[in-house]
Assembly symmetry: C2
Homo-oligomer: 201 residues x 2
DNA sequence: GACTACGTACCAACTAGTTGGTAATATTGA
DNA sequence: TCAATATTACCAACTAGTTGGTACGTAGTC
């Protein structure tokens, strides 16, 4: 039987705590002591499970990948028959997630990669994997939508999928600067409008 | 006579150094000692001109505003007669700036606001001002383009101007994750395509 | 009785910020 | 005009607190 995702041991407590603390204070701005306090464990436990702070960051990115992919896998838009509807459904779902405080809807790996892309390649690569693998799930539906509508676009499904991630990441930055999700939702609206225009007729 | 922007004093040396160092290592990841070393001054000079590290961050955001607004004010797209052409010219100009190493074309305030939006309101506000004032310059051309083409769009010039900033900020994150400007350029291409579609006919 | 999973106590290095001083530059006053 | 004075700009050394990381002890378990 799988030994994961059960009994709240120190490791998963730390990983779950990291998602919230790092999204709130950034990676460099988060201390190991803060993570331990938020997780309710001691520093001995931290360095028993992770050999360094950077090691936890990589594990947190992977954990984020699992948490978010489970969230999206369970979302209702997958049940739509038309692949184009699934693409729009995905974007509407992303828009619906823009609720609550800013740290609650922003992206862990987008935050981390900003600070670590030059100084910590393993963290950068973990963030890149997370973003790209998530985009790949959308790319499949875009590809299917192109085929279903018999389009021959000058753009690729891969680039459009990554573009959606760029818009979302940028929307998070605006939300952080302006203190709320409203501006982010407007950017997602523009993105939805763009995708509809691309597939029009 | 103006005493600014001449003779390389410690203050401007520090502000110029901050643009590069913070974009490379993030704000929290940048130490005061590193800034001093990059600027070629001592810590005494630092705290003579800035009362804290956060104070420098605010000044750096304002400095960034001045540097970038001068860059865009001097760009050739302003000479185009048609406001729509100026909007496209702006986006093409942004795309052309995507050259060199990642720290060279990414945005200081986008990087800083990610880390400080919850912990340092003065820095967040300085970043917000920088982004919004830059977007406002584009908003004027968008508004004029709407009027010139007699459109009655369901979107506003302000939201489209901010959306362009979201796309660019998100494109920078992808560039950081993937280690180069190519993916960012593709996102700007999608944005240009979107704007053309909005103004079509 | 070995091994995993922690907790407690601790440290060396680093961090932002201070202190007390000096050189250069303005400002003043006769 | 020029010395006296004040102010600004800057430097080197220091400090109090923080940081990531370690050493070692212990409770439970197979």
């Amino acid at each position: 039987m799988p030994r994961t995702t059960s009994k709240p041991n120190a490791k998963t407590q730390l990983l779950d705590a990291a998602l919230g603390v790092i999204r709130t204070k950034g990676y460099s701005g988060t201390t190991v002591d803060e993570l331990c306090a938020a997780a309710g464990v001691t520093k001995g436990a931290f360095f028993h499970h992770f050999k360094s702070k950077d090691d936890l960051a990589v594990a947190a990115a992977d954990h984020w990948s699992e948490v978010t992919s489970a969230l999206f896998a369970a979302a209702p838009y997958h049940e739509l028959a038309d692949p184009f509807d699934r693409v729009i459904g995905y974007l509407e779902f992303r828009k619906a997630l823009l609720r609550g405080g800013v740290p609650e809807f922003t992206c862990l790996v987008g935050t981390m990669v900003q600070e670590t892309y030059e100084t910590a390649p393993p963290i950068r690569d973990a963030c890149e994997r997370c973003i790209s693998s998530h985009a790949a799930t959308l790319e499949a539906d875009i590809e299917a939508a192109i085929a279903a509508r018999r389009l021959s676009p000058e753009w690729t499904a891969a680039s459009l999928a990554l573009h959606t991630q760029a818009v979302l990441q940028g929307a998070f930055i605006l939300a952080k600067a302006k203190g709320g999700p409203e501006i982010a939702a407007e950017s997602v609206d523009h993105l939805i409008r763009y995708v509809r225009l691309l597939f029009k007729r």
